[in-house]
Symmetry: C2
Subunit: 446 residues, 2 copies
């Protein structure tokens, strides 16, 4: 019987690796009933085999030699080491040895994806990576297969649980940024150095992968406009609420089709950014709170769809990895490979795409000015905006303490980002403006 | 080149059929770039080829002879006729001719699924049916593949857009049942005879399919407790709101694992029903309004996930059908069949399941009594409930017109449904009770 088992080797046995072993044990009968075969772990790469571990981990399988895992008879190698190296080298070695590879390593794919997928295609093996984005939400699979019939127009995603947890706290309790950060760190939702999460870089890596599988476009994550949540104040949430909006940490991508759709050389522009945004308070994304993630996709025929769930954590991430192991196992059992291109599209058949310059983004803006309360201030602000043809939809100025600088908050009609930046450069040099203006983009999704 | 095309024959060309042709035309370049091949429609079965139709439909392909479609060279036959016959006969003929079959026909699968899947297995072809549940939400694919690693615990689904549209209207505007029904009919969201939708039967058929692919259980839809939305009044929505709840048309299924999990013969009980329920006002499902559908799944490792989108309509349903055509095409191109069992599980490996008797459901209840306002009424109500060990969590009695019967509304703690029914049989025969008591189940999902 054992020779019929699907054999799997694990590179790494930290939190996610332990979760994988837990799921393979606890859900075994369901997995066998679905797959029609058992999954057997053959070897597990660790740094220190003697350290104390969860008893679910079979100690006899631990090794410090990656080659022993790759040559353990496993047909599927699971990489849960994280980081760039040695993960990249080991994955390439596993492919060269004729194994399928499953990975949750978004950073590695965002940086070295092209090389890894090319290596996989050369040896006709699959690299599967559901857990790299959205944790337990099967969003990669959905974009590659479920929505395969449709032309995807836009993505609005809450894909960083740390940022969403923090902004939920700032919004619901009026807590300060530093307090919610300390709380997130105490709960293990934020790292000691939280830059990757709060700075938007983790989300940008994930967005780069979502853009690949949604639009067939290759947009390196470090070219995506990435703004963190550090500059938000509790007042921003209160002002947004008065306008009927919530403030959420969003990754946004849109495909702007060429006007001349019949010209195969016409370029599709990809708008992409990670930043806190205002979205309508009654939208499904606005109800996505705490560490939950959600990905909203709009496409030509379907309109909006939304996928919601836990975006991180040991068990959700591990469940996504094991669903990928099952997919690889099905391909092995069905003796098929490359049913789908790794990034969903046959690159040679995709029409050309290019990143839209950030200044060309066109949306309403939330502007929070900090000014001394003097006569004529509003006239000068609106004149500077008007000079860039930016018109105003709503205004609030209701917090007021005599003698102190006051916030003036505006919601604009749709405007080009470049125009807004030029207007703010003028405004921020006016003598009565006491702080740089805070600006946030508005996405009027439902 | 044409010989490389994936050839598809259409049985039926009503709303969904027209949508399919639209998507194949409008999304062609995206589909080709994803699939690596073109999809060509070879023949289309219609009743009347001479009737006026959408110009997107190629008239030269129309035929009244089903055999011509099956023998048109198509490798994939798409059934969008609806109903039991002749759809069943044609599907079996298509399979016998060696074609893969794609269908959106939930009624047919709920009734004749076993026969059709058996016929497909005999000839080693796939029957794919994403569009049968949840329209454009890729929920079948997600349950079969995305969540394949996990043990599914429960499903809470809004899968009938008509009912959800109507209850949204009753809740948001306090409209009467008859008014929202007339409105839904005027907008084309409800049929002239709305029984299938408002009576819960459409949702029960879909739930039967969801139960199959989630739990590996075979629960015929006509054995599922099915209650319609006809008995709700605008007051129920107002009372529920006071308790912190929304009233939503839900399909609910839960797997109750046997206590002795190690005994392979121990039976898993499947709780299943379709009925309006109270759910917390701040839950994601409670925010699913209008004709939108949402399916919430909880599983062992992932916890809750939710999938939201348009559950019906020409384009969403057609997009789901075309994603199935693409899946069948990938299997043809990869020369593989039966990557997954049709209903997700290898039946011989699933532990036995049985439908839980409806009276064994255990949850909190919403009870709306209609009584004459006499001294001692509340004491007699609570005594009758107490005799069945039903305890009370909350109470409202705030609508009051002298001389008229008054509503008394209670929220109970968790109780067994059989006990509640026995208590209500006693209560409804008390002299001061002027109308049968309305009872709704409460699901405290988040």
């Amino acid at each position: 019987m054992s020779s019929d088992h699907i054999k799997v080797g694990l590179l790494g046995c930290g939190t996610v690796g332990t979760g994988i072993l837990r799921i393979l044990t606890e859900n075994r009968s369901d997995i066998v009933a679905r797959l029609g075969s058992d999954i057997e772990v053959t070897a597990i790469l660790v740094r220190d085999p003697d350290r104390e571990r969860d008893p679910i981990i079979p100690r006899a399988l631990l090794t410090t030699d990656p080659q022993k895992v790759i040559e353990s008879g496993a047909k599927i190698i699971v990489e849960v080491l994280g980081g760039y190296e040695p993960a990249r080298t080991y994955m390439l070695a596993a492919l060269a040895a004729g194994c399928h590879v499953v990975t949750a390593n978004k950073a590695l794919l965002a940086k070295h994806g092209a090389e890894i997928f090319r290596a996989a295609d050369e040896v006709e093996k699959d690299v599967i990576f559901e857990a790299s984005v959205g944790g337990g939400i099967p969003i990669i699979r959905t974009l590659r297969e479920g929505l395969a019939a449709d032309r995807i127009d836009s993505i609005h995603a809450i894909i960083n649980g740390t940022s969403n947890y923090m902004l939920t706290g700032m919004s619901s309790r009026g807590a300060a940024y530093s307090d919610v950060l300390a709380e997130a760190q105490a709960k293990g939702y934020a790292e000691a150095d939280p830059t990757m999460d709060v700075g938007g870089f983790d989300a940008a890596q994930k967005l780069s992968i979502l853009i690949s599988v949604s639009f067939g476009a290759d947009i390196p994550f470090d070219q995506i406009t990435t703004e963190g949540i550090e500059g938000l104040t509790p007042a921003d949430f209160a002002f947004a609420r008065q306008f009927g909006y919530a403030v959420k940490p969003l990754a946004v991508a849109k495909a702007h089709l060429p006007e001349d759709g019949d010209d195969p050389a016409a370029v599709t522009l990809i708008e992409a950014r990670v930043a806190p945004h205002l979205i309508p308070s009654d939208s499904m994304l606005a109800h996505t709170n705490g560490v939950f993630n959600a990905v909203r996709v709009t496409s030509h025929a379907l309109g909006p769809v939304l996928f919601y769930g836990k975006g991180a954590g040991m068990m959700p991430t591990a469940a996504a990895v094991v669903s990928d192991i099952i997919e690889a196992a099905r391909n092995i059992m069905g003796d098929t490979y490359g049913r789908l291109p790794h990034l969903a599209f046959h690159k040679e058949l995709v029409r050309p795409t290019r990143l839209q310059p950030a200044d060309d983004a066109f949306c309403p803006f939330y502007l929070r000015f900090t000014v001394r309360d003097e006569p004529g201030v509003l006239a000068q602000l609106t004149t500077a905006l008007g000079a860039e043809r930016i018109s105003i939809r709503k205004m609030v100025q209701d917090q007021y303490e005599p003698g102190l600088p006051v916030p003036v908050v505006l919601l604009t009609h749709q405007a080009r980002e470049g125009s807004v930046k030029r207007a703010l450069a003028v405004i921020d040099s006016l003598p009565f403006v006491t702080e740089p203006t805070c600006y946030l983009r508005v996405e009027d999704i439902r």
